[in-house]
């Protein structure tokens, strides 16, 4: 029987009511009395030297408050990078300056050159058009392999080359790796591109900042997944402000998908300008501005080689990747192609020797950083594509080949630095085979063929490392932050509870799911518990929401804080019941003395905590506890996906006919929300596989800068999905046994789709090894007719 409340129940989302009635409070809905508006003048060329900027005409235009250029930010810090990667020779990565407004050079289309603050947005826009900028255009650095050559034009003149780092993980002895490949019975090699994407949450970024001369306090409202991270980075590295004088609020946020993790120049600019102009200022991105200023995702070019022995066991894996970081280092950009990518190259398989090589490149493009999955989709795509190709080359069933090489014993130490605590990859594959009705595929293929269509089945497995992360480990790997989280459980006198959390909900449903946990622990109704998030003046210092971490890390902090509350409440109950604390049990909101009928209700104990007339002298009044939780390890969600496509051989059009996901997320708090998270991830993964591509021309012009020319998935591009998460191996090291579900769909689906298309084409007699994403009709048609 499905539960109707608490852990395991599909409680309906309480936040929906405000979103469904137009009563949400998104950043662009916030207007501060007397606010002025910001418009950024952005570079329309990819690379150039700024010769002069003349703002005099703009300054005289109606409504203009002030015009800012890079000169106004001399002596002010730049946007910092939060992760220092050490290259394979032991040297730190090259780390260029990232000014708030361009200084000396522009380095990508969209790089902000100047900003106008005016009484109205229209006046700010009009004045920006009157700014005269003289830029000497330089050759754009666009091709990563060419950019790595000596003598290439430099994106940053003060760096020795365009290579941020040349990094390696796994087997460092090249001779040993060469020997594995030389002795292999079969080697499969694949060149592939992981296409550049734009996250495109439906809400564009917005920042509203105000400054109080009276108190010298700042408030920044911003579209962020992690308000404390923004406050820390902006105060400590950019503006040099004391944290206690700065409040950062991330109210309702309309989707993030990673791109709202990062500290952006516009946030620091608005905070700076609010004081400089002595007026609140507001900036709201247009969608085109989002395309040229939100950090992009993916953009890897890789060669992967898989070595197998005569029995089709994986014996070696080697990959060489060029990873595009864009023009500047965004907040976590450096960690994505390295510690979030190389560490996942073992996948679900017990390959004994793995070597991962990554050259991270500066180019004249928008900075690239984490996007849903962040490094893990890139690893999974490489691995699962090469495994699929190997199966085809060897004439082995792709499921059999995968099963044969699965890791089956846990804990498992991979050759690429991770320890998988638990999992059951055969278990999820079993679920997939049944849920996807793989036995019926042959009949479905025949039916498609009778209609003149080719039908393909694509299988994919994935593992991801979530719940980022143990602070001591990531610190050793270069993280400049701890990655714990925090929660405060404040029990009110009448027994209701406010839980202040460091995680931020921007679609994940924390306001519903988190109370289910606390309600279960105490035995009270979910409606008595409210989650407070997104405001640094209200919540304890937490690291926010990304990397499928909220429940695994912040949820664990919430459990710890609730346990402290219960421990204290038991002391009070013991006093009221004149019993020993050790004999007190809490069930269904009643404290009772074991083996007796004596009890006192939750609400009586909480009232006593705040009206402590009859109270134990050694216990402090009040009932409020905080816990910080630093995980002992990553969590390792894993699963198996199946995609069935039809390909129209006349047009190359691919349609997704059936998509099935079998995931192991460990324990599940709200199955409805988990299903929704997987659906959304699959939708984005199908988008990457079939539709989306952030395109530049050779001069660095951004060709896809609106929804007119960047193909977002629409409702008629996707099918209903079948999602199964009944195979569960609970995480062994967090109190809820949860693993994280937010990114799985986006990680697991692109290779499944591409594998399916290739299966379809090969079933039609075409020996086609690979088509790069997005697998558009023109690419499919060209592959079939090439």
């Amino acid at each position: 029987m499905p539960k109707d409340s608490g852990i395991g129940a599909s409680s309906k989302r309480r936040e929906d009511v405000r979103f469904l009635t137009g009563a949400g409070n998104y950043t662009d809905d916030i207007n501060v009395h007397g606010q002025a508006y910001v418009h950024f003048l952005r570079s329309d060329i990819a690379h150039g030297r700024i010769k002069s900027i003349d703002t005099s005409a703009a300054e005289g235009m109606p409504g203009v408050v002030k015009v800012f250029t890079g000169k106004d930010f001399e002596g002010v810090g730049g946007i910092p990078c939060g992760w220092e990667v050490t290259d394979k020779h032991g040297a730190p990565m090259q780390e260029p300056a990232h000014p708030i407004l361009a200084q000396g050079k522009v380095r990508h289309v969209g790089d902000p050159i100047a900003a106008v603050v005016a009484d109205s947005l229209e006046q700010a826009r009009d004045a920006a058009e009157a700014i005269d900028v003289d830029i000497e255009e330089l050759p754009a650095v666009m091709n990563m392999k060419a950019a790595a050559q000596d003598g290439s034009t430099l994106v940053h003149d003060d760096l020795k080359n365009n290579i941020c780092y040349d990094w390696q993980l796994g087997e460092a002895d090249d001779a040993k790796v060469n020997e594995v490949f030389a002795n292999a019975a079969h080697v499969t090699t694949l060149d592939l591109v992981n296409n550049r994407l734009v996250a495109n949450p439906m809400e564009p970024r917005v920042a509203v900042a105000e400054y109080s001369r009276g108190t010298e306090d700042y408030t920044l409202y911003t579209t962020s997944q992690n308000p404390h991270v923004i406050r820390l980075l902006m105060c400590a590295f950019v503006l040099g402000l004391p944290e206690h004088k700065v409040r950062v609020v991330a109210p309702d946020v309309g989707g993030g998908f990673g791109t709202k993790i990062f500290h952006y120049a516009e946030e620091a600019f608005c905070t700076f300008a609010a004081k400089a102009c002595n007026r609140p200022v507001k900036w709201s991105a247009s969608r085109s501005e989002a395309f040229m200023s939100d950090a992009h995702g993916r953009d890897h070019v890789s060669t992967i080689e898989l070595a197998l022995d005569a029995d089709s066991n994986f014996v070696g894996l080697r990959t060489n990747t060029y990873a595009n970081l864009g023009a500047y280092l965004s907040t976590f950009s450096s960690s994505v192609p390295t510690w979030l990518h190389g560490t996942l190259m073992a996948g679900n398989y017990k390959t004994p020797v793995i070597q991962v090589n990554v050259k991270a490149m500066f180019t004249n493009t928008v900075p690239v950083d984490a996007y849903r999955g962040a490094g893990r989709p890139e690893a999974t795509y490489q691995l699962e594509r090469v495994v699929d190709k190997a199966a085809r080359e060897l004439g082995v069933d792709p499921i059999v080949l995968r099963r044969q090489n699965f890791v089956t014993e846990f804990p498992y130490d991979t050759p690429v630095a991770l320890t998988y605590d638990t999992g059951d990859y055969n278990g999820t594959m079993d679920k997939l085979e049944s849920a996807a009705d793989l036995a019926g595929f042959a009949a479905r293929r025949s039916a498609s063929e009778a209609n003149g269509k080719l039908r393909g089945l694509g299988i994919n497995c994935y593992i991801e490392a979530c719940g980022i992360a143990p602070s001591n480990i990531v610190g050793m790997l270069g993280a400049r932050a701890g990655l714990y989280d925090a929660a405060t459980v404040r029990v009110n006198a009448t027994g209701s509870i406010s839980v202040m959390v460091g995680a931020h909900s921007h679609g994940q449903g924390h306001e519903t799911a988190f109370p289910q946990v606390v309600a279960d622990m105490i035995g009270i109704d979910e409606s008595m518990i409210e989650i407070v998030h997104g405001d640094t003046s209200k919540i304890p210092f937490g690291m926010g929401t990304y990397g499928s971490r909220s429940l695994a890390v912040c949820g664990s902090a919430m459990v710890k804080a609730t346990e402290k509350v219960i421990d204290k409440a038991k002391k009070i109950a013991a006093h009221l019941l004149e019993a020993s604390e050790a004999d007190i049990e809490l069930k269904d909101g009643q404290f009772s003395v074991a083996g007796t009928d004596k009890s006192v209700a939750w609400g009586d104990v909480t009232l006593t905590a705040y009206v402590p007339h009859n109270y134990p002298l050694e216990v402090e009044p009040g009932l409020e506890e905080t816990a910080f939780y630093d995980p002992a390890n990553f969590t390792f969600p894993a699963g198996a996906y199946a995609c069935e496509v039809e390909v129209d051989p006349d047009t190359g059009q691919v349609t997704i006919e059936k998509f099935t996901a079998a995931d192991d997320f460990g324990n599940i708090v709200n199955p409805m929300i988990v299903d929704g998270q997987v659906h959304g991830g699959i939708g984005q993964g199908i988008g990457q596989a079939l539709l989306e591509n952030c395109a530049y021309d050779e001069n660095g012009q951004l060709l896809s800068a609106s929804f007119m020319d960047y193909a977002m998935p629409r409702a008629d591009d996707v099918p209903f999905y079948s999602v199964d998460h009944s195979s569960q191996t609970p995480c062994t090291h967090n109190p809820l046994g949860v693993k994280g579900c937010g990114e799985a769909g986006a990680i697991g689906s692109p290779p499944a789709v591409v594998n399916a298309v290739l299966d379809a084409l090969n079933s039609g007699g075409k020996a086609i090894d690979h088509i790069d994403m997005p697998v558009s009709p023109s690419r499919v048609w060209a592959a079939m007719n090439g």
Binding site: G22, G24, M202, G507, G509, S706, F707, M708, D716
Partner: protein, 161 residues
């Protein structure tokens, strides 16, 4: 500045706008009806859909002056008179048809327009109709399911769950 007058959610309103002021800006900035969202500049995303004289309209693609004298409905006017969710809104909550909520007002307004013309749309008709409404969170699964439920069709019969 030109004066514009219209009925919004049954109330008469007026304001002074520039010729270039969009209907979405008039609703959001002048009337503080911030439930209507703007997610793109090119009339692609549909977060700004409102009803003008009963028709679904992208309010970011219409000048406020064009709506002069019109009867405009926004998400703020959709709930039942007692404040409870209407059938469409309730179906979206029941079937988890929203996550971040940003596209949701447009989805609800478009659904209302769809069901007015086609009270029992098929899955294919729903997906086709939603071409002008982007959602980045849900993969559309639960939105389509919500609309089927809102139109009185048995959403539980959808095998994929």
């Amino acid at each position: 500045m030109t004066q514009v007058s219209m009925t919004v959610n049954g109330k008469s309103v007026s304001g002074d706008v520039e010729g270039r002021t969009l209907l979405s800006s008039f609703l959001r900035e002048h009337l503080s009806l911030t439930g209507t969202h703007v997610g793109c500049d090119t009339a692609q995303c549909g977060a700004c859909v409102v009803h003008v004289n009963g028709e679904a309209v992208k309010s970011c693609n219409m000048l406020a002056l064009e709506a002069d004298g019109s009867d405009v409905g926004t998400i703020e006017g959709q709930a039942n008179e007692d404040g409870s969710l209407n059938v469409i809104q309730q179906a979206f909550q029941d079937h988890h048809g929203l996550q971040c909520g940003f596209c949701t007002p447009g989805m609800v307004m478009s659904t209302a327009a769809l069901l007015k013309d086609n009270p029992r749309p098929t899955e294919a008709e729903i997906r086709k109709y939603l071409e002008g409404n982007l959602c980045r969170c849900t993969g559309y699964h639960n939105i389509v399911k919500s609309i089927m439920a809102a139109s009185g069709q048995d959403a539980s019969s959808i095998a994929a769950e």
